[in-house]
Amino acid sequence: MLESLISILSYPFIQRALIVGLLVSAAAALLGVSLVLKRFAMIGDGLSHVGFGSLAIATALNATPLAVALPVVMLAAIALLRLSSASKIKGDAAIALISTGALAIGVTVVSATSGMNIDVTNYLFGSILAVSQSDVILSIVLAVVVLTLFVLFYNRIFAITFDENFARATGSRTGWLNTLIALLTALIIVLGMRLMGALLISSLIIFPALTAMRVLKTFRSVTICSICIAIICFISGIVVSYLLSLPTGSTIVLCNIAAFAIFWLVRLLLNQQSFKRSR
């Protein structure tokens, strides 16, 4: 058991996947706390579909995937944020519109050019082999940026997440912070997409925050706990997928589901105890 675990680490592609995955899932969990609480969780899901569409187009044009996907997804992030805050079109409907539209474009472009092949499956469901050396550098930079911004603006992020109107009325400029969060989300999705797959990447944003919120009651504890959950679930997902030869992305999501179930049970037990005590 231990030997096989050590042997995991000797493969360079696993080393790369570990570094990128750990940093991306920690950063995603941090942003996820704010996104889930602001009811923007679906933005992540919408963006990942846009990411798939742009990757498909990049492949068809023989361009570097990241060079196309990054600006397109960032633009989509700003557009989605605007749509969600405009009251005329309902945010969730707008996101569904964009995400299914982008998926349809991607599938059409892929079928018309290279046909449904192994590359497409990798885009959709992720591949541990797809992580390159440049992804490692990019994800280190991204993780440092997200962590620094989160520490520096922690109180501001709390304020706009809890009550954006109050923050605006009392002199906080909330627009740029919202845009920043959306752009960082876009970056994380594009980076994590090749490892986790377009269909699964948003789980890294949504699961840890929701899991932590089952049991914990303050913003600070939820934030810290969701990073820990993200890291633990990622490592156990990689290990299990290696030992049982399962796809990496889906195994990590399964670990997140397990963590959610455990926290949910703990909540139930705590509720029962406090109910007994109150009787």
């Binding site: 709390f158 109107n165 009325a169 009392t170 913003f219």
Partner: protein
């Protein structure tokens, strides 16, 4: 605080012919009034009369569709405290009471990533004054509606250094807490603008009344308001005829000019305010009014 300040200084907030609209329909229009340093303005009116819309406009959350809101240079956004109506989104938010109250201190200084010990002291002080210091470590979502309201009030007080805007501050408070709240308001060294359903308390406490019914029915001092009789219909479910919108339509909307003038002679301290009322009577859009609100007649 002495609420009868002499009002010779410039207005903190001045509205010129302001209207707010949603989807092309006016929610509140023909708004012409000023709030001076030390004023305690109660905004009254029935449901859907545009009170909350106006307070959102004053808080800078809604842009007026026409007209202009002039804000005095010395009044910056960070000097303002805001108590909004509670939103459903906060109902399951994981946050401790202390985290919520401290977020009111966010803009007190320049840019700092963390709260200072002064901020924490301020937050603790308001929690103590509002009688909820024992809740400071509790989770906001586990509190009762009245407790949550007091937490949001503490947050508003932490951010207010000059002006506090409150939308239905006593909603959810029990009678004892309401009495304490009004006692606190009387001692606050702040200019107060408050939306209220509680006309009796508004009349006994406020210095000025703004009565809305999607447009401005009345603005002036409490004494003028009582003399005008506009509030009589509103006071009352107990009114013999009940409250009926048509009642207002049949009545003249404003007092005659002479009547208001005779009142104004008696209230020398609020001369400025009366000239504001006169402006209103003459229908500001038609008469020639200079920019600074002086009456040219």
């Amino acid at each position: 605080m002495n609420r009868h300040s002499n009002n010779i200084n410039t207005a903190l907030i001045k509205l010129h012919n302001v209207a707010f609209s949603y989807a092309g329909r006016h929610a509140a229009c023909d708004l012409n009034f000023s709030v001076y340093d030390g004023d305690y303005l109660a905004i009254v009116g029935g449901n859907g009369s545009g009170k909350s819309t106006l307070i959102k406009g004053l808080a800078g959350l809604l842009a007026p569709s026409t007209g202009e809101i002039e804000i005095c240079n010395s009044l910056r956004r960070k000097d303002i405290g805001y108590l909004p109506q509670q939103s459903a989104a906060q109902a399951d938010f994981p946050a401790s009471v202390m985290e919520v109250v401290l977020s009111g201190c966010l803009n007190n200084g320049g840019f700092r990533p963390f709260y200072s010990s002064l901020d924490k002291h301020k937050a603790n002080n308001w929690l103590l004054q509002l009688g909820i210091s024992h809740l400071s470590k509790k989770s906001f979502r586990e509190l009762s509606g009245g407790q949550q309201q007091r937490v949001l009030l503490a947050r508003a007080l932490c951010s207010a250094s000059k002006l506090i805007l409150m939308d239905e501050p006593i909603a959810g408070l029990d009678p004892h807490a309401q009495a304490e709240f009004y006692h606190l308001c009387a001692t606050l060294p702040l200019t107060i603008v408050m939306v209220s359903h509680d006309l009796t308390s508004a009349l006994s406490q406020a210095t000025h009344i703004l009565h809305l019914d999607t447009h401005q029915l009345f603005f002036g001092t409490v004494l003028e308001y009582q003399a005008s009789g506009i509030g009589d219909g509103f006071m009352g479910c107990t009114h013999p005829h009940g409250h009926d919108a048509s009642e207002h339509k049949n009545k003249p909307k404003y007092q005659s000019k002479g009547e208001v003038e005779s009142i104004s002679k008696n209230i020398t301290k609020s001369i400025t305010k009366c000239s504001q009322s006169k402006i209103m009577i003459e229908d500001i859009s038609k008469s020639g009014i200079s920019k600074n609100g002086e009456h040219n007649a």
